[in-house]
Amino acid sequence: MGILTKALTTAAIATALMTGGAHAETKRIALVVKALGIGFFEAANKGAQEAAKELGDVEIIYTGPTDTTAEGQIEVINSLIAQKVDAIAVSANDTDALVPTLKKAMDRGITVISWDSGVAKEGRLMQLNPSSSSLIGNTIVKLAADHLPEGGDVAFLSATTTSTNQNVWMAEATKVLPNYPGINVVATVYGDDLADKSYRETQGLLQTYPNLKAIIAPTSVGIVAAAQAVTDAGKIGEVNVTGLGLPSEMAGHVKSGASKSFAIWNPIDLGYSATMIAYHLSNGDAKAEPGAEISMGRMGTVKLDENTEGAMADPFTYDASNIDAFSSIF
């Protein structure tokens, strides 16, 4: 018993020493992500840090749960409320479940915005979309269609059935399908944003639909797993994997030909813009109301619609010609 208590007290004192030094004047902005250890969000953090440096009086708290669960995110947000941070910018695991907790945060004077994956209107001041959903939905279908002049069978590999983002994008993609007459969507499967499950679901697709010409994975985890599964099945050239991914993770697959092209907005810009917006709203020099324009530093301004949502920029296509330049960035 003594040993354990002693060990714990030592650990406690150590942590106490490490966390010394309070910041009196700096604004503390928490960047809450869906889960830690995801390349996309690490890149967003990089952008947030860049914004903090530019603004000077900002400290970024980069945090999130281990799994992409709403319950985990609520625990994280509760601890941020307890620390009385100035602003919370969250990419939500669940549109609705976070609302009561975020309302509590706003009641206690914290500026709350959502970015990337949004929160229901009553749980935040504004939502920053990386791009507009209709543009993304169109882009992911176009990416597949560009390499299929004669049309063919296409399948979706999504994240979880409850992922806000992916569901909206696929709904938008479905809307534009009539504009691409040859493209025939045969299936939608869910890899839960887990590499192994996405890999197995892709194997299933390849076996079930031997005529499959393209797999559209609008998730950075799914697209890598799908490209790997296609490579392992020896189907490079037959099946083109496309969708949304990170240049650093996709560089190898673009070079091997498993993926001819894919798209993504720049997560660095997204983290940067979210931080800028949270800063201005928290300072009171901008107001989140329909029609308002809020400055995002080097990214220009964002205009809010009637739901106080705004789009940052257009998605950007990466292929063999530019992948090397970007794969070292994020």
Partner: protein, 328 residues
Amino acid sequence: MSTPTPRQIPDRLASPLARRLKSWEALLLAVAIAIFIANSIASPYFLDPWNLSDASFNFTEKAMIAFAMAMLIIAGDIDLSVASIIALCSTVMGVAMMAGAPVWVLVGLGLGTGLLCGAFNGLLVAGMGLPSIVVTIGTMSLFRGISYIVLGDGAFTGYPSDFSWFGQGYVWWVFSVELALFAALAVMFGLLLHGTSFGRTVYAIGNNATAARFSGIRVDRVRFILFLLTGVMSGLAAVCLTSRLGSTRPSIATGFELEVVTMVVLGGVNILGGSGSIPGVVIAALVMGLVTFGLGLLNVPGIVMSIIVGLLLIGVIALPRLWAMWRK
């Protein structure tokens, strides 16, 4: 009265074992106090009644289930379907809410669905004699599967404002409804396990089910009741969690089963059955809540947090055994 002890048990094992069990709660309590002090030193925000109240939500729902799970594990069974029962209960409540059911019906349906799920598990395990771990791994997929069929990628939102009382309401000052429920249930389960003959039969079954049967205990009935109890507690947790989130999705409470089992084992309940106590589980719930909240205040990444909880579990479990080996 006294069950006949098998004669090959040597005398010298009895007393250190008993002492070790007696000191288990003391050990955990020391850990809890150490963590509490460590947190107060490490973060200026820790010793705030409202913050501590917010932090209690990290464990109250899981602890409700952990009490029933502790009794089930002491009796030598386990229920891994509890998180999926929450999902199904929440879905049933959501369907009723969409149909315009009043709050008391929602609560009744939540608890009732939990009871039925528990009965289903109990029937397969106690009634048909199937191993509980296999049965509940099966029902884990089954119950949540039904939720996914009903909801797909949708969600039920718009619960009546009265319903939010269970997960967001306060009884008095900072004491939330969930915290009050947690305290009341701790006392009730403590009395049930440690103060009634039913509680004694649970231990008897866990130590030696065959001997218990020959002593006139209706073993399968007790096991069935324990599954019912676990089901109802999962139903109650579903009411609280749904009320707190204000919405239902089929992915609700994902992974809760392992955290509940961790809580029970950390509380000193023997995973093979036969020993353990409710006070131990209560303290373990507090320890887990304090650790996650304290580390959260320091913005320790969740990955590091799980490592620390894992090490804590292994440490607390291994320490008494090492201690015993030393003394031999």
